[in-house]
Symmetry: C2
């Protein structure tokens, strides 16, 4: 009997989710990944819960149409508002980045005082607070929306004074508490990890969700259900014309990617409507 090849489906508003894909490729090297980046409609961070939920349902419909064996929501904003709805709609497992990240932070903290940085949407949702308090009600959480860090990461301004100045401005309330652990609650932020560390100092633990999410993913994958085998072929799809995607993807992924497929935003909506 031929091994059924069903990829792990991953979506993000754009390219930040590739930091999660990088971890999956490293930790689960036999698995095949199908990544969808909604680059025509990015970013999700400043948009409303309703709109992010709609886009997330559409993106998931597209992944399901390609017969993925599970759906990884590699976007904090989408994870913070869409996971319950996606789980209700899907007959494959759905994993977000919030719960694994919160669990890793609860593990890392000694003082019980945890900071969360993310987009406006993620912070407004209170998703990390809820996930952390579900683990341990005594944990104290300080959250700060850091919308400028996304374009700074996309500009590639990872080692500039101005980037550290912006981070200092945003981290002020967290460092004043003080917190001993900070969750990098946006998939773009690992790109700025050195700058964040320079501001936060060496004693503060920085939790990057990618590793924790990949560990959660590993635990739900049934090896018998099929995988990419020895030489998995990963596939990257975006909703905007991918002329800059390839170059930016290498910053996040740290390796070259093959040919990028494009489906237009109209087609993404169509998958959802025709479902």
């Amino acid at each position: 009997m031929a091994l059924e090849r069903r990829p792990i489906g991953v979506f993000d508003s754009g390219i930040g989710g590739l930091t999660v894909v990088r971890e999956i490729l490293r930790e689960l090297p036999n698995e095949e990944v199908l990544f969808f980046g909604d680059t025509a409609r990015l970013p999700y961070g400043p948009k409303s819960k309703e709109t992010v939920l709609l886009f997330s349902m559409q993106n998931t419909s597209f992944l399901l149409s390609r017969n993925v064996r599970c759906v990884v929501v590699a976007c904090n904003t989408a994870s913070s508002v869409a996971i319950p709805a996606l789980r209700a709609e899907c007959d494959v497992p759905v994993i977000g980045v919030i719960e694994p990240g919160a669990a890793a932070a609860a593990e890392a903290t000694k003082s019980g005082s945890i900071g969360v940085i993310g987009t406006r949407g993620t912070v407004a949702s209170g998703a990390y607070e809820n996930a952390l308090r579900a683990i341990d009600r005594s944990i104290r959480v300080t959250a700060a929306a850091c919308p400028l860090l996304v374009p700074l990461a996309e500009e590639g301004w990872v080692d500039r004074q101005v980037t550290r100045d912006v981070i200092r401005e945003y981290l002020g309330p967290l460092l004043a508490k003080p917190v001993d652990t900070i969750i990098l609650g946006c998939t773009h932020f690992p790109v700025l990890k050195d700058a964040i560390r320079a501001v936060a100092g060496p004693e503060v633990a920085l939790v990057d969700n990618a590793a924790a999410t990949t560990a959660a993913l590993r635990s739900i994958l049934s090896p018998a259900a099929g995988c990419g085998g020895d030489s998995p072929v990963h596939h990257f799809v975006v909703s905007d014309v991918p002329h800059r995607f390839q170059e930016e993807a290498e910053l996040f992924l740290g390796r070259p990617i093959g040919e990028v497929e494009r489906i237009s935003p109209e087609q993404v909506e169509e998958y959802y409507r025709s479902q």
Copy 2:
């Protein structure tokens, strides 16, 4: 015979275009404005020509469905790629912000050396260079993409050192030429005018397209074709849930706005498909 009330249609990717609306309300106080901000899919600046063109056609279809008497593309990125296609499709006049802005800059320069700052999409299009050279082939143009200025304006960080530092980084190549005139080639940038002036110095003329675009609009409006009359009612429509739109709109518009209508991104596409 009753006066036919047909509004001036204005669209932008988000809220920046309200700097143009502000000028229209001031200069053409009897006209009624219907503004559409595509807040669910903003920003257009980093997206491809093809995607920005598609969204612009959809937005225009929506405005036409509301019987506007003309279409003002109050977005530099959309103006830089979509004007010819929109003019071919529309039976009402279409005005962008590029041509009026270029004409105002050609008028303002003494040295013939003009700078343009805008989004990646606007700068990549070469639209300002083309418009300026069509006016005077001897004009020299230096353009710089300034993607971080959009989120800085949206954060309201108009009077911070970090904003001036980012502007200094971006304006470096323009001030080295030097240029004697800078076109603020993004509708967000007038919000940062003081910070840009602080970096550029008092001798450099800053051209804000809103006034020039409104003058161009005035010249094509036929008063007989109908207007809002003495007490025009302006109407604001957005594609995302408008919970932050109202507060941000006041920063750009400098006055309170009435109730904001929402049409979903799916509805925007529907207007175009059913046209």
